[in-house]
């Protein structure tokens, strides 16, 4: 029984969903996103996963980005904001997610 394998497959399929949900809450920068995800072991992912993924979401116009100066000697940060297209995609994903949860609950007999 290799549950880790299955967990990593779940993560692969849902990380994009989680990232868009977090960015929708408020404009976020890369490291902030990674640290937030670190609080949730099932979704924790490293820089080499998150940054390329953010790039792809940018290219597909689901999110937009802007560099912003930060206060007191901290470096400028690249903030990501969700776009209208991203919101549309997110609502479609949410619908499918609910669909999945309902299906599983039904199969579990809840």
């Amino acid at each position: 029984m290799n549950i880790d394998d299955w967990k990593s497959q779940i993560k692969r399929g849902t990380l994009e969903f989680c990232i868009l949900l977090l960015i929708r809450k408020q404009p976020t920068y890369g490291y902030e996103l990674i640290s937030t995800l670190e609080n949730y072991p099932i979704m924790a992912a490293k820089e080499n996963t998150i940054y390329p993924l953010l790039r792809r979401l940018l290219k597909e116009d689901f999110i937009s980005s802007s560099w912003q100066e930060s206060s007191e000697g901290l470096p400028p940060r690249k903030y990501y904001t969700i776009t209208d297209k991203g919101l549309e995609y997110l609502s479609a994903m949410s619908a499918e997610w609910d669909n999945l949860i309902n299906t599983i609950n039904e199969m579990k007999g809840i």
Partner: protein, 184 residues
Amino acid sequence: MEKTLDNYLEKIDKFLKPMAVSERVDIVKEIQSEMLELQQNGVSPAQIIERLGSPKELAKAYLGETISKSSGFGWRKLSAVIAFYSLAGFGGMIVLPFTSICGITFMFTGVLCPIMGIIKFGAHLAGIEMPQVGIEINSYTASAAAFLPISFLIGIVLFAIGWLFWKLTIFTIKAMSIGKKKLV
């Protein structure tokens, strides 16, 4: 900024050479921003590098994403494929060279074939015969006029085969870059 961190960023920049300069600058700047923030939080340069992983792996992750998401064929993409392949290690040393070399060779010969047909036909019109260029099947030898359309047909077929190999290359890289390793 610490020298080891600077070196790290330089390596990333070097590995990402096939990408557009603006993209590369942006990527390096974003990683640098995280490094500076971690330093402010009291994380040591060694710990920062451990966290980010080897520059090779990080650059490979960016390249993999770029290749699998852009479509079409171009020099930039070709060089990205080559760069990715050079970072991909042994796993990519068997399939990728085969499919990418076949792809490029077939596409090249696909273009070359009709060019030779045109040259032979042109030479024929000018009164020069070129028996070294042409097609022969058993006793049948195509005349310069007949060889012209044949060369175009063969060219199209060869180019299509090359294109399929090229697609296979992209598909393989895509499969490798979303491989399990990435999310460990």
